[in-house]
């Protein structure tokens, strides 16, 4: 009797589990079929891929390997890569400035510190701010940075500034969501203690909220920096600065040896930044 109950309670074959699993499988298979995914085609296409990567023997430089190492080009790539990283730096600062306040108005617990009242008006204000903040963050995030870049190129012309604005806006939306999750996970105890001692919003942020969210903040911002560098390296496709300009140019001209060189630049840069952020992250635990 008792064992039966325990068996029932612990069985993995519960109705909800079965329903969830079959729903997942249905969505997967529907999507797989609709998008015409096929292992067979990948196998059959293998040969074409090899010949694309190895290039046409009659056209010089159409093979990815060996990478083309022309010294004048290398210098250009290097400075374009530097510009790419610079774009990410400025964009990151911009997005943090936008995302931090946005993340506060999209965290229920922080809103309770900002507008602590219990009346209908207070509740209305909190909900209003939350809705507006969430809406702005969603728009920022949902529009891809390439699309933002096109919009900003039309406003401020070709060049890295358009790319910076595009990255800054998009990442502000992403960061806002990530940071608000961190905000909502803080221990409310210290906030309660400071509230009771009569501290106002900014002081509570400085002493009870920010010290607690710091490790999560640093980790998210570093992750977004790396991701901004990766995005910045293709914004040049639409004329928004960075190494993407060369990448696009060489891809279009089937100068795959040079494409390979540029890809190596990007991969090495991302790898170095990854190592650097690991060092920084360790200091902020």
């Amino acid at each position: 009797m008792l064992i039966e109950d325990l068996r029932k309670q612990s069985t993995p074959f519960k109705l909800t589990n079965i329903v969830l699993a079959s729903m997942f499988l249905m969505i997967l298979s529907y999507s797989w079929v609709s998008t015409k995914m096929s292992f067979k085609e990948l196998f059959d296409g293998w040969g074409y891929m090899v010949s694309y990567v190895s290039g046409n023997p009659e056209i010089e430089g159409s093979s990815y390997f060996p990478p083309v190492l022309d010294s004048a080009d290398l210098k250009n790539y290097f400075w374009a890569m530097v510009e790419t990283v610079q774009m990410a730096v400025v964009a990151l600062v911009m997005s943090v400035i936008l995302a931090v306040p946005l993340s506060y108005v999209t965290s229920r617990n922080i809103l309770m510190i900002l507008i602590p009242g219990k009346s209908v008006l207070h509740e209305f204000l909190r909900r209003g701010l939350y809705a507006i903040g969430t809406f702005i963050a969603n728009v920022f995030r949902s529009v891809n940075e390439l699309v933002w870049a096109l919009i900003f190129v039309s406003a401020v012309g070709l060049g890295p500034m358009a790319g910076i604005l595009a990255l800054g806006i998009h990442t502000a939306g992403v960061l806002s969501k990530l940071l608000s999750e961190g905000n909502e996970a803080i221990d409310p105890g210290p906030v309660e203690a400071l509230t009771n001692s009569g501290a106002g919003f900014i002081k509570i942020l400085a002493y009870a909220v920010i010290p607690q969210t710091m490790p999560h903040f640093v980790s998210m911002v570093l992750y977004r920096f790396e991701s901004d560098v990766r995005s910045a390296s293709i914004l040049g496709f639409v004329g928004a600065g960075g190494i993407g300009f060369y990448l696009f140019d060489k891809l279009r001209g089937f100068e795959n040896g040079s494409v390979c060189t540029i890809l190596i630049f990007i991969i090495v840069t991302v790898w170095v930044l990854d190592k650097l952020s690991a060092v920084i992250r360790r200091r902020f635990i």
């Binding site: 105890g189 203690a193 009771n196 001692s197 009569g198 501290a199 900014i202 002081k203 400085a206 002493y207």
Partner: protein, 245 residues
Amino acid sequence: MIKMKNLVLGYKKEKILKDVNLGIKGGEFIGIIGPSGAGKSTLMMSVVGGIKVFDGKFKVLGHDMDGIKKKKLRKIREQIGIIFQGYNLVDRLSVLDNVISGMLSDIPVARAVLRYYKDKELKKAKEYMDVVDMTKYTAKRCDELSGGQRQRVAIARALAGEPKIILADEPISALDEKSAKKVMDILKRVNQTYGVTIVANLHHLDVAKEYCSRIIGINGGQVVFDGKSCELSSEIVEKIYTTQK
């Protein structure tokens, strides 16, 4: 300092404490005892305005608590220090920063954000860290401290607000006997050297008897005893701790 007359307290629609009549004077060391769920925390938190007042008269530091304005409430809160069972310190900040966080109402926002303190603030912080015997660990982060040490930092933080009253909600129930004794000794010292009124919810009856000048017994939302600890007979103790139904 605190006056309650025929007071009824509770949450939303639920009345928890009924017909409370209490007067608390400056310099008292009061222990509140009673079974869990009796309403001790509710009674204590009502003093800082977190609890709904249904009926009766309620004055804290001369202000009427019923329908009090936010600004006035903040004034009252600045004069009351609270110590929690879970310490409520910021783990990632140093002992010094945690202590100073108790005197934020005297520090301008810009300096508070920069953590730039004046000599007189540091002097005050040092004095309170001395009182709780934590001067050796000022630079330590609070997550490196033991429970007893954390509670002592919490007392120093409460002191930093220069309170007239310190409320301590089960300050020692998470501590071992030795740390608990040290914390209680410090509370006693604070009571005597600064004349701060102390109101503590205590789980341990013998601790309450040893340290408190006055004991308030609560059971089922009612004050069933209010007197000196020597007047606490075993019959009364039984009355406090047996569930009424």
